[in-house]
């Protein structure tokens, strides 16, 4: 039966799943009424300013606070020794290591936290920080991770020098953190030894920084009378922060309240726990007044949450027709001075083993060796799940390298190796089960949309004239939605997520979740999921996250886990409510539950739709005495959702670039991105996420890098040096989609925000390298700045007229 006008109208009223509903968050942001961390102002609040090390490696001989304490407005100066009585001088990291909260006896990276000056306002705090006198004795500096495990390498971590492991298996050198591997090494070696064709390339993912517009910060407020600690914080994972603070401080977790508020972008930078937060908490405990600490931009880029720094080697073995027989990827990972890499406990190299990509590769082996250097600690996932960009970059670059070696077209080599649509769920040789996919359809749709054949023809003509035009392809598979608790935990906490829904008597509802939006539009999209499940208008469904006193426990928003995990929890909690509503409807209509059928916003009696109860009517009834025998009042439900599997969004991207061989400038002529994130909740928000992710991919591919000199000095940590694209450089994005729902997710959704970053970076690189492919170039490391590309032109002798 065709849907009636009435049904279509009722459906439209819900503004549920699949509608481009405008964002609920915008009302405050367009008026300047957001509440970001630096907007929090509490009575009596003091400011903390950090004193940081000018050296990358040095012993602290003495610290003199006297002059700082004499500065008007300065209240206190905290150093490591002041944190020791409360046992907060060292803290656990999310990577199973420990990190000095304030440098204890020595500094291990430039701008490491040495002291915090507490003062009545930010100017006085800054004045005070300038007056703290620290006497350093410089030590030899280790910058190059390739030299980290040399016999004569300076030992960076004396505190753990005698430990033969730091949470992830045996160490072989004081600067060694872990060696992690997956797959079958012997079988892989044997395939390589007998292969018709092998290719090998060194491929770097340089050190970069997520650099959200808002830096990190917090306001810590300890009430000495009640023993209650409230921390307003820029955290993507407020509940994990609460647990860590409880573990660290000994304050009962029930007396700790973490509040996320509005967050000005995260992109992975706001997952870890930073020394600034901890010192602010200690300072509030010591002084009994609220303490605000706000990071400067230079501190942000220099010290909190860098990403990547993976020095990879990719190898593929194939037959003469380009069918891949084996994959061998290794990476040397520079984690800086402390292993504060964000990873699940059992996955020290994150999800790097997704590196078999979208391809049917029978045999594979990968290994990651992580080392300490005198650089800022970290290894966060910059707009991707844990180490997924690194993995996808390697496989997508290597597909092109193999294609070039065999003179097979770069689209064709992908076609020949894709996992076929009829093979899902597909188990990879490195142990993942890809939930669903249709890679051939996605690729063909994109090739047709951009007239791939025509582009290749044009490229051949340009090459004949000596011009450089590149066509980049990327057909990636992501892994997101961490994750099943049997494989994913952080500090012992499983990475489930949660949703608590309460329906009010008048049919409006409030839902609270364990995630934390940083711009993703959760207040809009979660309400759409619930609206469709419950038949209540999304306009009347309030979403709250980020306040640990209100929301149920969850692991936060990172690794595109909100939709796959908390979004699933929202649907499941709503279904519990609908089941109860059905029982109530049956009672009210005096029929059996099985006699009812759901229709948009109501239960109808089968065969007699005139007899029905709307969800709104049921909501009111749930708060009366007219209920089935033994049923409690209320229409609430909570779901803790432990996903059965990760989700595997995919996409097919094409990028066309024109390169000026005289200047090295690359112009992105066209970028066409087809994404398949399963069921689409809000197309407008999806498109927005893709635009943003592609722009961050563009930034990484064409300009971002955090360089150091041989003494460990930063050579670019302000926005003058660190590349954030403006509206002028940023290309125009074309978007498209296919829909292949996840079979294990309640609504079939997979998560989308990170795909464009993960898939975009190799697509750009593939386009740039493709421009030089006819000249024998197989790889160029990022960033593809004009200077570096010009250097390539110069090396080839094509830069002169």
């Amino acid at each position: 039966m065709a849907a009636s006008t009435d049904m279509l109208e009722r459906e439209a009223t819900l503004q549920g799943l699949g509608t481009s509903r405008l964002r609920k968050e915008d009302a405050r942001f367009i008026r300047g009424k957001g509440t970001y961390i630096d907007d929090i102002k509490l009575p009596g609040m003091l400011f903390g300013a950090m004193v940081r090390s000018p050296y990358a490696h040095a012993r602290i001989k003495s610290i003199n606070k006297d002059k700082a304490l004499a500065v008007p407005g300065v209240v206190a100066v905290l150093v490591a020794d002041d944190l020791k009585p409360v046992k907060l001088d060292w803290m656990p990291t999310l990577g199973s290591d420990v990190q000095a909260v304030l440098a204890d006896e020595k500094v291990c990276f430039q701008l490491q936290e040495v002291a915090m000056v507490i003062a009545t306002d930010r100017y006085a705090a800054s004045d005070g920080a300038d007056m703290v006198e620290v006497d350093y004795e410089e030590l030899p500096v280790l910058v190059d991770p390739h030299k980290a495990m040399d016999a004569d390498a300076p030992i960076i971590r004396e505190d753990i020098a005698d430990k033969d492991e730091v949470g992830h298996g045996k160490r072989t050198h004081p600067n060694h953190i872990f060696t992690w591997e997956a797959g079958d090494k012997d079988a892989t070696d044997s395939v390589f030894a007998n292969a018709e064709v092998t290719v090998k390339e060194e491929i770097l993912n340089p050190r970069v920084h997520p650099c959200p517009m808002e830096t990190c910060g917090c306001v810590a407020s300890f009430d000495k009378v009640t023993g209650q600690l409230t921390v307003y914080i820029t955290s993507q994972a407020p509940h994990l922060v609460r647990t860590v603070v409880a573990m660290l401080s000994g304050i009962p977790e029930s007396k700790i309240r973490i509040i996320g508020g509005d967050i000005g972008g995260g992109f992975g930078n706001k997952v870890p726990i930073y020394p600034g937060y901890v010192v602010a908490i200690v300072a509030s405990i010591v002084t009994g007044v609220p303490i605000k600490w706000i990071e400067s931009r230079i501190d942000n880029i220099s010290t909190t949450g860098f990403a990547r720094d993976y020095h990879g080697i990719g190898e593929l073995a194939a037959d003469k027709d380009g069918r891949i027989k084996a994959l061998r990827f290794t990476a040397l990972a520079d984690h800086g001075a402390f292993n504060s890499h964000v990873s699940a406990t059992k996955l020290p190299a994150g999800l790097f083993s997704i590196c078999t990509g979208s391809y049917d590769i029978p045999t594979a082996y990968c290994r990651v060796d992580a080392v300490y250097t005198n650089k800022a600690p970290g290894g966060v996932a910059y707009r991707c799940s844990l180490r997924v960009t690194e993995a996808v970059y390697l496989i997508e670059r290597m597909m092109d390298v193999l294609a070039q070696k065999l003179s097979i077209d770069k689209a064709e080599i992908r076609r020949r190796n894709f996992v076929n649509a009829d093979k899902f769920p597909y188990s990879t040789s490195l142990g993942w089960t890809l939930d669903s996919g249709d890679y051939h359809t996605a690729l063909e749709k994109v090739l047709q949309a951009v007239d791939y054949e025509g582009l290749r023809k044009e490229q051949a003509e340009k090459r004949a004239k000596g011009e450089l035009m590149g066509i980049g392809l990327c057909t990636f598979t992501e892994i997101v939605g961490a994750g099943p608790t049997k494989v994913c935990d952080i500090l012992g906490i499983g990475l489930f997520d949660s949703c608590d829904i309460r329906v009010n008597p008048t049919g409006s509802a409030i839902a609270r979740l364990g995630t934390m939006s940083q711009g993703q539009g959760h207040a809009t999209t979660y309400a759409q999921i619930i609206a469709t499940e419950l038949g209540l208008s999304s306009e009347e469904i309030q979403i709250e996250e980020g306040d640990t006193d209100k929301a149920p426990y969850g692991a936060g928003t990172w690794g595109s886990r909100s939709t796959p995990v908390a979004g699933a929890a929202a649907a499941m909690a709503a279904r519990k409510i609908r089941a109860k509503a059905q029982a109530i409807a049956a009672h009210l209509l005096e029929v059996g539950e099985g006699d009812l059928e759901w229709e948009i916003d109501r239960f109808n009696v089968k065969g007699n739709p005139a007899q029905s109860k709307t969800m709104k009517e049921i909501a009111l009834a749930a708060h009366t005495g007219d209920l089935p025998d033994g049923m409690e009042q209320g229409l609430d439900a909570t779901e803790y959702y432990d996903p059965p599997n990760m989700t595997f969004p995919f996409g097919a991207y094409v990028c066309v670039v024109d390169i000026d061989r005289f200047t090295g400038e690359t112009k992105v002529r066209r970028f066409y991105a087809l994404d398949d994130c399963g069921t689409r909740i809000n197309p407008m928000i999806i498109e927005g996420q893709i635009h943003g992710g592609l722009t961050e991919a563009f930034a990484v591919a064409f300009g971002q890098a955090i360089p150091f000199d041989e003494n460990g000095n930063h050579l670019g940590n302000s926005l003058m040096d660190y590349f954030l694209p403006t509206a002028v450089e940023t290309p125009h994005w074309e978007t498209d989609h296919t829909v292949t729902p996840s079979p294990h997710h309640p609504i079939g959704a997979k998560g989308v925000a990170e795909s464009p970053h993960v898939g975009g970076i190799p697509c750009f690189s593939n386009a740039v390298v493709d421009a030089f492919a006819h000249l024998g170039v197989t790889h160029m490391d990022m960033p593809h700045t004009a200077f570096r590309v010009w250097q390539q032109c110069k090396a080839l002798g094509i830069n002169t007229r």
């Binding site: 008026r31 517009m213 000005g264 954030l724 403006t726």
Partner: protein, 161 residues
């Protein structure tokens, strides 16, 4: 510490007085003394534009202007855009075209776009991108910001036609 001074200026149409050290930056006076937390601090080096305000008919990054320079000035911030409960066309455009995500750059973006449309009421896409290049956004990729400005330009020009 230098002697504090009283500075008087017009903030979104209202006369205000603020007592500051000579070194105090306008962004800090606005945010901490005058409770106007709409303009944000993103870099303190005038690169990101999150702190953009309009002073005497010019876009200014308020993290690099001293409050004492604002004596008798006319200052407009994001808080001054909504008039009589009516959103400005730019505020409406940013919502309608999904021109914002985390919202941190938005007040600066809208304030900068306001100045653009005052100077050039019907800018091309290229002109919008050029004019907005001093305001960084990490979330949107600018495409919908361009559309938001075009939305406002269209709305304002049809209103004045």
């Amino acid at each position: 510490m230098a002697k504090k001074q009283t500075v008087s200026f017009t903030l979104n149409g209202t006369q205000v007085d603020v007592v500051v050290e000579p070194r105090e930056l306008l962004i800090h006076s606005l945010r901490e003394k005058l409770q106007h937390t709409g303009p944000h601090i993103g870099c303190e080096t005038s690169h990101c534009g999150a702190c953009t305000v309009d002073i005497d008919g010019m876009s200014v990054k308020s993290c690099t202007v001293l409050t004492v320079q604002c004596q008798d000035a006319e200052v407009l911030t994001i808080e001054g855009f909504e008039q009589g409960g009516e959103l400005h066309a730019l505020q409406e455009g940013f919502t309608q075209e999904h021109g914002l995500q985390c919202g941190y750059c938005t007040p600066g973006m809208i304030t900068r776009a306001y100045r653009l449309l005052k100077e050039n009421p019907s800018p091309s896409e290229e002109e919008i991108r050029y004019w907005m290049a001093g305001n960084l956004c990490r979330c949107t990729g600018y495409q919908n910001i361009v559309k938001a400005v075009q939305y406002a330009a269209n709305k304002l020009s049809s209103a004045s036609a």
